[in-house]
């Protein structure tokens, strides 16, 4: 009967229900965790609950006056010159996993870190139910890690990777590491390795922090992605496609440009206000995770069909060499923006100057051309704990990642970033 009622509902109403269902998926995962309290354990599963914790205590220092170094575009505060900043890399995470049946479990993860407004607050990072009826199929629903790019499965867990932070030129452009929705992973043996396809879709809430202190919150973006992996011995290769769809939204700069009545400015306003906005990305990458050598190469292309959307070619390469408990490493990362700015067509009169400047800033706010060469060392001095030291030399032309408070902006500039971090995961 309920199904028949559902079918009678107008199509538009059904589409409005879907986002509501998606937004309640994390709550469902929390309920499933509580449901696990009533389940019974078998001989090989051990406890029904698994508690986990991870964290990083990191300090960052950089030397360029007027700049603030950030880990990703959602961080509202960065490391300023001459100050020891503890908020760029530090965080604390707690996780509980509950087994409901042998095929079904639920996971909830909370993280305390400095948020986009610069305040230390806990947030719900993961809350999903996982159904795995066989090794060939795994379905998850709730708040899930995005994990589209290679090595980005657990961006917040510093202990899980070699460097202090994932190269910001590639991973820092992701404003969110999680989405509310579902994913399905299909695995099968291919030759002597394992082939894996993952399809994901849902709502992608994210925040973008700007240098002037404003934070743009986007709640209604939708994401669709597909990844294909091949795992063989110590090798993993991945190809991934990603589509992010932002349905509408008005741009105040566009509104002001439209009011001028100049044809070129009105046309630019139309493109800035384009609705819906689509961004799409592609990635290929490979990692070798052996001993003593650890290596990775990742290439990313990100494009948009709207004027001020993200448009980059990014890449990073990593080489690490393990010597007993020490692993020295080096990385090179880069992102090149290929966006072109469109002129407003407004005459260079004092009355239009603020609008011309605002339009240019609007068009280039997310564009980044930046390079980073890093040297570092990881020391695994105790089980589940490491300490790392890293020096980054960063060259930038324009950056949506690093805040630039210099007036006027210096254009080409560089900075040296020193970092130390203590990571743990239990």
């Amino acid at each position: 009967m309920r199904e028949r009622d559902e079918l009678r509902r107008p199509r538009a109403v059904r589409f409005r229900i879907l986002p509501r269902v998606i937004s309640r998926l994390p709550t469902l995962a929390l309920l499933l965790i509580f449901a696990a309290t009533t389940a019974h354990a078998d001989a090989l599963s051990g406890s029904r609950f698994t508690l986990g914790a991870f964290g990083t205590l990191g300090a960052v220092y950089q030397n360029a006056r007027g700049l603030a170094y950030r880990r990703n575009i959602s961080q509202g505060h960065g490391a300023r010159a001459g100050e020891l900043d503890l908020g760029t890399d530090s965080l604390l995470g707690l996780q509980v996993t509950g087994d409901i049946t042998s095929d079904l479990d639920a996971q909830v993860q909370g993280i305390v870190r400095r948020n986009s407004e610069g305040v230390w607050r806990p947030e719900l990072a993961r809350a999903f139910a996982r159904f795995q009826p066989s090794q060939a199929v795994m379905v998850r629903a709730g708040r899930i890690g995005l994990g589209v790019f290679l090595l980005a499965d657990a961006l917040d867990v510093g202990y899980s990777y070699l460097t202090i932070r994932p190269p910001v030129e590639v991973y820092g452009m992701l404003a969110s590491d999680e989405f509310d929705g579902a994913d399905a992973t299909l695995s099968r043996r291919l030759g002597d390795g394992v082939g894996r396809i993952r399809v994901l879709g849902g709502r992608l809430p994210f925040e973008t922090a700007l240098a002037d202190g404003t934070v743009t919150t986007t709640d209604n973006a939708r994401i669709f992605g597909i990844t294909a992996d091949y795992l063989y011995g110590n090798w993993q290769t991945r190809a991934a496609l990603l589509d992010i769809h932002v349905p509408g939204g008005s741009d105040p700069v566009a509104a002001a440009l439209a009011q001028t009545g100049f044809p070129q400015a009105v046309a630019l306003a139309g493109r800035l206000n384009r609705s819906p906005e689509n961004s799409y990305g592609a990635e290929i990458g490979a990692t070798y995770d052996g001993d003593p050598l650890e290596a990775a190469l990742v290439l990313v292309h990100l494009n948009s069909d709207y004027v001020n959307g993200p448009k980059f070619n990014s890449a990073f390469a990593l080489l690490g060499w393990r010597i007993a408990q020490l692993t020295p490493y080096t990385t090179f990362a880069m992102t090149d923006s290929f966006a072109t700015t469109e002129a407003t067509g407004l005459p260079p009169l004092p009355v239009f100057e603020p609008l011309i400047a605002a339009a240019q800033e609007d068009e280039t706010a997310l564009q980044t051309t930046q390079r980073d060469f890093a040297l570092g060392i990881r020391y695994d001095f105790a089980p589940h704990v490491d300490i790392k030291a890293q020096i980054d030399r960063v060259w930038l032309h324009q950056s949506g990642l690093i805040f630039d408070y210099n007036v006027p902006p210096p254009g080409h500039t560089s900075l040296t970033v020193f970092g130390v971090a203590l990571d743990f995961a239990f």
Binding site: A43, L44, S45, G46, T50, G52, F54, G93, Q95, T97, Q107, Q109, R126, F128, R130, S134, Q135, A136, R140, I144, G145, G147, D153, A154, D156, V157, Y159, S160, Y161, S187, R188, R189, D192, G193, V194, L231, Y232, G233, N234, D289, G290, D291, R322, Q325, D380, P383, H384, D386, A425
Partner: protein
């Protein structure tokens, strides 16, 4: 003269035992004796223990068992994937906190691991060759070969 021969024999006698002693320290992969599996490849064992694809050739889901004994565990992962225990910890941190897979069940010692394999048709574990004395388990891979 006779005494000198005896001394030489005493000196070289331990060498005769060396190959056997080395084989006793071989790390082997074991499954339940009633299982139809006769052998597994190294990559199949990697996929099972590293949480990539835990399916036995029979189609059943494998139940991998890790052993808490640090020396044995260290030798096993070094020989299987050329990784140290901190690297294994780091690997599992990524998978566990992203919700992609769970690490193998950990038995407190080899005796418990052997008992679990002997009583569970889909269980798979590792131990030293010298520990395989009972009838309940079968060796399906020797990591030294």
């Amino acid at each position: 003269m006779h005494g000198a021969r005896l001394t030489l024999l005493t000196l070289f006698l331990p060498l005769l035992w060396l190959p056997h002693a080395a084989r006793a320290q071989d790390v082997v992969i074991i499954v339940n004796a009633s299982s139809h599996i006769r052998s597994l490849t190294r990559n199949q064992v990697i996929d099972i223990f590293m949480g990539r694809f835990r399916q036995l050739p029979s189609g059943a889901t494998a139940l991998p068992i890790d052993v808490a004994d640090t020396a044995l565990r260290q030798t096993f992962y070094a020989r299987l994937v050329h990784k140290s225990l901190p690297e294994i910890g780091s690997y599992w941190a990524r998978l566990v906190f992203s919700g992609e897979a769970s690490p193998p069940f950990q038995a407190p010692d080899t005796r418990t691991a052997l008992k679990l394999v002997a009583t569970n048709p889909d269980a798979i574990a590792y131990c030293y060759r010298s520990d395989v004395t009972g009838r309940g388990v079968r060796i399906v891979l020797d990591l030294e070969r």
